[in-house]
């Protein structure tokens, strides 16, 4: 136990170091009209630099965006916009060891036995649940905070719950700092430290629920808090090799409620984990033989 406090303490100190240098800059505040260009890399970097972001990370974000497109992990214009507006590097800054690896396809260690999922997984999950502006979305497992950050670009009503108290506090503090810095879209995120098993009853029902932690069954309270016709996605399996289970809740004409389970790809078998790696500024495939 002592080691854990020691390690997380060190990470916090180091993160504070990253934070203090990075926070001096200011970001152009969020508005729903922000529209990052999707035509060329240079235009995107120029646009992002004008917003106040780091051109190196912007370049990596663009390259990963291209990989996401090719792998069909992202296709809707709103999700594309959300991806291009979200600074993964800020969420990776909690662990100096992964700070510069924020745009790699890998899942990354953020401490407390929790990983930050890769951009391909998050892209697919976000695009598949197809969040419309105004919808209520509940996320179970705040973790690094990046998944809720994507959703904050899609709807004003993002709710996220984290079970591990120090992690919940750390990510909340990160959102606050990012809001101060100009990423005002994160005001759309309501956070809570609690046992996600019981959902967020005061805010229920939800249109969409994203669970980012696995147990041996789908928590009944979450199914209860999902609107009829709603959609819940839950990854199953070890980090990096997860399948995403989609649970649909439907109400029949007679009022009876049924559920069905499938893969988020509607049952099609697709290579789920992306096989590309960012190698310098190039994207290298690992499965191209």
């Amino acid at each position: 136990m002592k080691r854990r406090t020691f390690v997380s303490g060190t990470a916090a100190v180091a993160a504070a170091g990253v934070v203090s240098t990075a926070w001096a800059a200011s970001i152009k505040p969020y508005s729903w009209d922000l529209n990052p260009p999707t035509d060329t890399r240079d235009n995107f970097i120029a646009w992002g630099t004008a917003r106040g972001e780091d051109p190196t990370f912007l370049g990596q974000r663009w390259d990963r965006f291209q990989a996401l497109l090719r792998n069909k992990d992202i296709w809707g214009p709103t999700t594309i916009r959300a991806f291009l507006l979200t600074p993964r590097e800020e969420f990776a800054s909690v662990n100096p060891a992964i700070y510069k690896r924020a745009y790699e396809h890998n899942f990354l260690d953020i401490g407390y036995g929790v990983t930050m999922s890769g951009p391909h997984l998050q892209g697919r999950m976000t695009n598949v649940i197809d969040v419309k502006r105004g919808e209520k979305v509940l996320e179970i497992g705040t973790g690094s905070g990046v998944q809720a950050a994507y959703i904050a670009n899609l709807t004003e009503n993002t709710y996220t719950i984290e079970i591990i108290a120090p992690l919940a506090a750390r990510t909340r503090a990160l959102y606050d700092k990012l809001i101060d810095k100009g990423y005002t879209e994160y005001k759309h995120i309501k956070t809570k430290q609690a046992d996600g098993y019981y959902g967020w009853e005061q805010a229920a029902p939800f249109d969409k629920i994203i669970v980012t932690c696995g147990i041996d069954h789908v928590p009944p309270p979450l199914l209860q808090q999902l609107k009829a016709g709603g959609l819940m996605v839950i990854p199953v399996g070890p980090p990096g090799a997860q399948r995403v289970l989609k649970v649909s809740k439907t109400q029949g004409a007679d009022g009876s409620i049924t559920t069905s389970r499938e893969d988020i790809y509607g049952g099609k078998i697709v290579p789920f984990v992306p096989f590309t790696k960012l190698d310098g500024d190039k994207i290298a495939g690992t499965h191209n033989r």
Binding site: N71, W75, H217, Q224, A241, T258, I269, V270
Partner: protein, 891 residues
């Protein structure tokens, strides 16, 4: 003040005891490190680290072989140095390794992890190097009486191995390092007693006290862990819950058992999603979390009040109780007690429950907190407890049951980020399944529930095929038609659980209707029912798609290429190009390939064609579990192994298996390097006078491989009778080493007649092993039904003949080399033997998973047969040094 000693002539008893204890300390350290890895991270990485650490022997042998003169001159100093370093190195390296824990799940994605793994290798290698140096020098000095020293070495190792198991009751895993430390201290003191070296005694006692102090005092002072438990082990999450309280803790050879209570623990294994809308009152705080070696949790269920028991209906293990009223029930494995609770609350008139882990039974029977929480379930008058494997009990009993339940014996599910160790699952074999089926009363139901969390499905397909094979066996012995089509009913829930029901005598249409109604009410998927129509058409595409998921071929991804270059990457729903709706506008029904494949699997299993149409074409191995291959593991077909090397992240579950191949590969490279190093270095000098080099190499290679293969293979076999891997390992290690030690002792008498006597020994070993390979299962099955102490005694009796004889070849040859003055070869041979032991140990699980456990013993038998002719090379005398003397004709 020291006395001069001649180890070749009647050394004192304390010398032999010292050798035995230090050798035992090395074994104890191996076991201790394995335990540290099991509890802190992943057991199979522990095997890898320990296997490679054993190359300390190979390296010592190579160095001593090249620098023999120096070691002969400075042997006392070398032994003293090695001894004084061994203990402190154990403690310091172990503590240091805990500060650089590597995380298996990041091994691919994080470049730093490889260096951490390497640091673990190096750190754990160092103490073995010191231990090996001690033994190497002692062997070198006592080479003419090697049989006796070897006797001390083996018997010491065997008995100390057993003592570590006992030490597991005393020391928790984070302090288990104290066991080898104490053995080392005893061995060291006796060494200096043998030499009458009082300063040495004082020094080693001082060093020991200091080492123990470092182990106990440094972690709290420096704020570092004694044993770093990975953040990704189940127990680490429980420990972080704000209200977590550890309510029970007990260390024993059967695992480090912890029970946590927290409102954050939720269980309902395989629960229907419909429970959310229909259960009047969901039980709250109904579970404690059970962790064994930090793995888990398994749910320990509370004695639920009557208004909360309707929840059981929504669990998959409830199925048989739909059809059976007031059944006499048998639960194959108690685990956390859910199946037993379901049985009791669903109207069973009597429940017989088996549990092979004595530590669990002790906890539930004796701990006040657990007894109160579970309503003292094990002392319930309706419950009879069997304190050994349910599989063995069922095979031996005359009792018949209306329901036999085997549900979710694995704790958290079949998905582990670090991969799975290869473990024997005898409860799920064809033989076990047919025993359960035979123990059913007429009309009785066997209900087996397994985790179905793999995509593509792997273990469930093995389970399906195994149960069908068992049912056919049972159908045959009734002399009936062998038709089993009406005997099964199967359901699953995607990425949750699968349940197979088998009814003796077949299900009636009315029963099937009742089961179907329940399945619909639960929103589970029907996988098989008598008469279920299955469309065969999608099979080829599903099989191809699953293959393509791993091995699609296509043009290299060009960052600037258009997106349609991506092969087989079908658009997700909602994406452009995806068909979301049928022509009439209705949304398509969800098609889950894993579920369709399950239905097709049963279709072909029942109606024929499973092997050629499904199993042969499927991307993973789906061979059934038998007592010869009892593994839910090794799914990657051997022919596909190399194709996975650049996509390891896709088969993370299989890393335990892949690591075996990696270990074998690394071990082979290491071994050959170390074995050949002295040869290359001294081919023209040291070895020029030694005839029969290839023969000698072959001989010790065969002994190294053969001995360890038989030992490790037998450990897996003997779990059949002893029900527990830890007990089996201890009985086998102790039995084999002690009996071989005795063999070694006796071998001295035949030394003069070795040329005529040894071939008989090799032949006898070969014949006994071949006989055992084909017949030992029958003996072990029978032994397994006897009282436990008797089982251990009979198992020891069973291994005595081969183990005793297997004690002859090594010391006979070593002493011969010593007496012939082939000193370099003596050291070299010892190294060859050690190196190939490592290879042999790595080879066993690979042979076992690929060809079965009898094949393992046969490989061992063949190694001893090949050693027979090679023995004559060992007997060749040293060539005279004079140039021009003709070499012997046979050289």
């Amino acid at each position: 003040m020291t006395v001069s000693v001649d180890l070749d002539n009647r050394p004192s008893l304390s010398f032999y005891l010292s050798v035995g204890l230090v050798a035992g300390s090395i074994i104890a350290l191996q076991i201790g490190i394995m335990r540290v890895f099991s509890v802190g991270s992943w057991a199979h990485f522990g095997s890898l680290v320990v296997s490679l650490a054993m190359f300390g022997f190979g390296l010592t042998s190579a160095v001593m072989c090249v620098g023999k003169g120096w070691f002969e001159r400075h042997w006392q100093g070398a032994v003293k140095g090695a001894l004084l370093a061994f203990g402190p190195l154990m403690v310091v390296c172990n503590l240091a390794a805990q500060q650089v824990p590597f995380n298996a799940i990041f091994l691919i994605s994080d470049p730093m992890q490889k260096w951490r793994l390497l640091a673990n290798f190096v750190l754990y290698f160092l103490p073995f190097l010191a231990g090996a140096l001690y033994l190497g020098v002692v062997f070198l000095k006592a080479q003419k009486t090697f049989s006796r020293v070897y006797f001390a070495d083996l018997v010491g190792s065997g008995l100390c191995g057993l003592s570590v198991l006992l030490a597991m009751y005393v020391f928790k895993p984070d302090d288990l390092i104290m066991a080898p430390l104490l053995l080392w201290l005893a061995g060291g003191v006796l060494w200096f007693v043998a030499l009458a070296d009082r300063r040495g005694i004082a020094a080693i006692v001082g060093v020991a006290v200091l080492s123990a102090a470092v182990h106990y005092a440094a972690p709290p002072l420096l704020g570092i862990p004694k044993l770093a438990v990975s953040d990704y082990k189940g127990v680490s999450y429980a420990r972080k819950f704000p209200d977590a309280v550890r309510t029970y803790e007990r260390a024993s050879p059967f695992g480090y058992l912890e029970v946590y209570s927290s409102s954050y623990l939720h269980f309902a294994p395989g629960q229907s999603d419909n429970a959310a809308f229909n259960v009047p009152k969901m039980p709250s705080n109904a579970y404690l979390g059970l962790y064994i070696d930090s793995e888990g949790p398994s749910g320990i269920i509370k004695d639920l009040p009557a208004d909360e028991t309707p929840y059981f209906r929504y669990l998959p293990m409830f199925y048989p109780y739909l059809l059976k009223k007031d059944p006499n029930t048998f639960v194959v494995q108690f685990g956390g007690g859910i199946s037993t609770a379901v049985a009791l609350k669903s109207g069973s008139k009597h429940v017989t429950v088996a549990e092979g882990n004595p530590a669990l039974l002790t906890a539930f029977r004796e701990d006040k907190g657990l007894r109160a929480f579970t309503g003292d379930v094990l002392n319930n008058p309706k419950v009879t407890v069997i304190d050994f494997d349910g599989r063995l009990y069922v095979a031996g009993t005359r009792n018949r049951y209306d329901i036999i339940d085997l549900s979710l014996a694995d704790s958290a599910g079949l998905s582990s980020p670090g991969g799975f160790s290869i473990v024997e699952k005898y409860s799920y074999t064809r033989e076990a399944m047919s025993a359960y089926m035979r123990a059913l009363a007429p009309g009785g139901i066997l209900s087996v529930t397994l985790w179905n969390k793999e995509e593509p499905p792997k273990s469930v397909l093995k389970l399906y095929a195994t149960m069908v094979a068992a049912a056919r066996d049972v159908a045959k012995d009734k002399g009936g038609s062998g038709d089993i089509a009406n005997d099964f009913y199967v359901v699953s829930s995607y990425l949750s659980t699968a349940t197979v029901l088998y009814k003796r005598g077949g299900f009636t249409p009315a029963e099937i209707a009742q089961l179907n109604a329940h399945t619909k009410a639960m929103s589970f998927d029907e996988i098989y029912a008598p008469g279920l129509k299955v469309d065969e058409a999608p099979l080829p595409q599903i099989l191809q798609d699953y293959r393509d998921q791993f091995f699609f071929a296509g043009t290299p991804a060009d960052p600037t290429a258009p997106s349609d270059k991506e092969p087989n990457d079908k658009p997700p729903p909602g994406a452009p190009g995806a068909t979301d709706a049928k022509a009439d506008g209705t949304p398509p029904a969800p098609v889950v390939p894993a579920t369709v494949l399950g239905r097709l699997a049963w279709h072909y299993l029942i109606n024929g064609g499973w092997q050629e149409k499904v199993a042969d074409q499927y991307v993973f191995d789906t061979r059934i579990l038998t007592n010869h291959q009892p593994y839910f593991a090794a799914y990657i077909k051997v022919g596909d192994l190399l194709k996975f090397t650049d996509r390891l992240e896709l088969v993370q579950d299989e890393w335990g298996y892949l690591l075996l191949w990696a270990t074998l590969g690394i071990a082979t490279v290491f071994a050959l390097t170390l074995v050949l190093f002295p040869v290359v270095f001294g081919w023209r000098t040291i070895f020029s006078r030694y005839p029969g080099k290839v023969g000698t190499l072959t001989y010790f290679l065969c002994l190294g491989l053969g001995y360890i293969i038989v030992e490790v293979g037998m450990i897996s076999h003997f779990i059949l009778a002893l029900s527990n891997a830890t007990v089996s390992a201890s009985v086998l290690i102790t039995g084999m080493l002690v009996f071989s030690g005795i063999g070694s002792f006796f071998s001295e008498r035949y030394l003069d007649r070795a040329r005529s006597f040894m071939p008989k020994v090799f032949l006898a070993i070969f014949l006994i092993l071949v006989f055992y390979a084909f017949t030992i299962d029958y003996a072990l099955d029978w032994i397994g039904t006897l009282p436990y102490v008797l089982r251990i005694l009979l198992c020891l009796l069973l291994i005595f003949p081969p183990a005793f004889l297997m004690g002859f070849p090594m010391p006979t040859a070593m002493t011969t080399l010593g007496r012939l003055g082939k000193d370099h070869m003596f050291l070299w041979a010892w190294g060859i033997n050690g190196c190939f032991s490592v290879i042999g140990a790595a080879l066993v699980p690979i042979v076992a998973t690929s060809f079965g456990l009898p094949a393992v013993v046969l490989v061992g038998a063949v190694a001893y047969l090949v050693a027979l002719p090679a023995f004559f090379s060992v007997l060749k005398p040293l060539q005279p040094q004079a140039i021009g003397v003709a070499r012997p004709a046979t050289a």
